[in-house]
Subunit: 500 residues, 2 copies
Amino acid sequence: MTIFYDNRRPYDNYAASTKEWDVIFIGGGASGRFGSSYFKAMGGNQLTIEMDNHLGGKCCKNACTLHHYLYEIAVELDKARIWEKKEYWPKFPRKNGKVEILPILRDFMIGREYVFDFMFHQSKEQLNLQFLLNQPASIVDPHTVKVEGKGEFKTKNIVVTAGAGPSIPNIPGTNLKGVYTYANFLDLDYEPNDVVVVGASKSGMPWACFFNAVGCNTTVVEMMPALSQFPLDDDVRDYTLRMLKIRGLPVLDETTLISINSDSSGKVNSVTVKDKNGQTKNIKADLVYLATGCTPRSEIVSHLGVNIGPKKEIIINKYMSTNVPGIYAAGDITGGIMEMWKARQGGMVATKNILGNPTEFETDLFADTLHTFYETSWVGLTEKEAREKVGQVFVARMPVQGYKSWLPLPLCEGAMEYAMQWPDLRGFQKIIYDAKTRKFLGAQHVGYGGKDSFQYLLYLLKKGATIDDIANLTELFINPTHYIQLSRLRAGMKNLVDLA
Amino acid sequence: MTIFYDNRRPYDNYAASTKEWDVIFIGGGASGRFGSSYFKAMGGNQLTIEMDNHLGGKCCKNACTLHHYLYEIAVELDKARIWEKKEYWPKFPRKNGKVEILPILRDFMIGREYVFDFMFHQSKEQLNLQFLLNQPASIVDPHTVKVEGKGEFKTKNIVVTAGAGPSIPNIPGTNLKGVYTYANFLDLDYEPNDVVVVGASKSGMPWACFFNAVGCNTTVVEMMPALSQFPLDDDVRDYTLRMLKIRGLPVLDETTLISINSDSSGKVNSVTVKDKNGQTKNIKADLVYLATGCTPRSEIVSHLGVNIGPKKEIIINKYMSTNVPGIYAAGDITGGIMEMWKARQGGMVATKNILGNPTEFETDLFADTLHTFYETSWVGLTEKEAREKVGQVFVARMPVQGYKSWLPLPLCEGAMEYAMQWPDLRGFQKIIYDAKTRKFLGAQHVGYGGKDSFQYLLYLLKKGATIDDIANLTELFINPTHYIQLSRLRAGMKNLVDLA
């Protein structure tokens, strides 16, 4: 096995020249790399400048990939403790009642070197991109980029894809030893026992579930009502939260973090919060994990007259262009939701516009997933929103409301054993139609193996698919989601009535 | 918890009358039950007669559900042994080196009573179906069905949905103690050590992997070249087989079962096979599992002049009608592939035709999955077929051919840890496009969490989706299948060239 990329020195594979580039991408993360790939594929001449020692951005360094790694370990540990000593499952050995975290992180840090390596290989060998690594860039003017020790690069266009970094709440104690975000979590050098995760967010929940699953006494603190930021119906939200409660993971919602406190050595020992009744209390903690959002790194363009929004986001129009001609932006630096699809597609759309193929980027409608010990996925309208919007709706829901016996159907992949023995843990799902027009309006799923299909359910939604279209699909039984057969059970009716 | 259905006595919930029914479904399995649901939903008056004590057919009794249950246990056991004592994983305790099978089967048998119960509840309370249980029916003429002890029922139409039973090869020893099919596997009353599974088929492989995972010395015997019955490319087939080999599960292909042999007590002790070189040899076995297909139960119509095919299948036209007016058939009794979607949709299409809404049933194009320790899913043309049919194709494949280092990308759900430490086990995928028309032609995936999406990829295929359509989809990162982003990396090219 070979490590191709070298993290010790600057790297460049472009042919040195004084030529003018068609575009320079500032940042080689998701938006910069996919934008560059598309640019190259369309025949343009791109250069991508990355300040870190690898392409792929924070995703493969310490964010999405780490998030998923910890989530998958949380799922395995969760199964192991739920089934412990039942049927064929063994007693699960834990040192002092806990699984050690540091070896898990060490294995990730070894593995990610190979991820960086593949990013390098794919970008260089498969996609023929030109790029610089380990080289911070500054923008001199809309057609000039300066790299320390390399001089100035001339370019027709710049796409700013420099991403975002963790937001730190403005409270006392955030700089204490024992306070982490995704950005420094891999620096962890001790085994925590009492953990507070701040933010019941997409990035906070997988960490919280991981800490809970390894055996840390874990508490989630959230300013808003729990999971209220996600477009979920109450039944799906309740199921998701109940699955956390069963696992002993409290979510203190409508609760504000006041301060992070330390012992005399400067090490975190508690947090102070104000709860929903206005009561102040302390929670013991030897590790505080902040999942309180990200802030765009827009300072890179602040001297150029580029419009910046109140959350430090670069303001772009639907063609990915800033107010300064020649300067575009894509990905997390443009604010709003910070998702991979938005970064990648944004880079692609910026490319199309630069190369004279005017393309609008629509980011309002998307499917999404929250990771806990399950995946909670959603697309489209909730039942509540649908009832408000179209009036009469048809909903197929599993488990069935009012069914008092065990419902042993697996509602996701890997839930067959749960279904047979502990059916409450087998997942949850619903699909929502307009009862009059028969149009598919939305779906929600809690479980495993269903997330991938939500990519395509979004497509069906955008295409205006009806219950009849979905009932005519060909299911792959036993499918993790039962949308097709549930729809088929009712699609024969002229006037759709709930399966009550 | 309540058991609603009662397996000790006949059950009927139809109002006794001498009226003529619109339709009688003979058999309450997938095709009978979904056909009945659709019939009822369209306003028709149906009666469903089932000889067994529950609705849902063999699926929830001893076939598909059991198959998936064993598959999911095989997956868990497989992970437990691969990771044993690595990182946080425990030593996996086995009695005499084996996990006991009988408790696993017992738990299934308890659980399925609740499955039967839900089938009953859904059919009666949610769908308002009329049905009889525990009552074998015979067909007197196309408008008369006789039930022992109940008399004759008049009907305008009959849909024969009586299913299929296991095919038994015509060789010596198939009636020995220790020979099983899905139909009697739950009668198992001992712990086997040496198992031969006959048939590297969709129904044989999950059983074989289960036996292997619990610790039985397991061998698969297959007449054809291994997995050649599935439309898979060599690379996908090789990966699937290699994953079996790594787990110590040999597949003896192009090998014919000659006899099943016993000791003096009449208990199986070996099988005799003829291998691909014509050599005869014995394989030790105290359990033989036959997964050698199913035979339609068409004898139920043999006296009525209904056309029966060479494999005992009832011959139907594309409107689900037999040659005898008033008699339709659907599901496994019509032969060919025996899949849930075909049974359910067949019942639905028969209903539409009976109720005067002429509908053709197209069964040529479908997605499918083979369960081993992974799911191998496919849809559309293979790369080889595509090259023969359209000439120039574009293929995106992971892992990348010729990449010699570790490829740590997870290519399915639950593979993040494999990706970091044992990347060869992380899955496999490819997507195939027509390089000229840019049309999506097919996809194949080995892994977890991708099966559900193949239902929708089939829809995209039927709709004529292109690489540009797929590159414009909005992915849910980290998605188990990377089709969208792999497509996007190349979609910018006017002339598609492989990612080599």
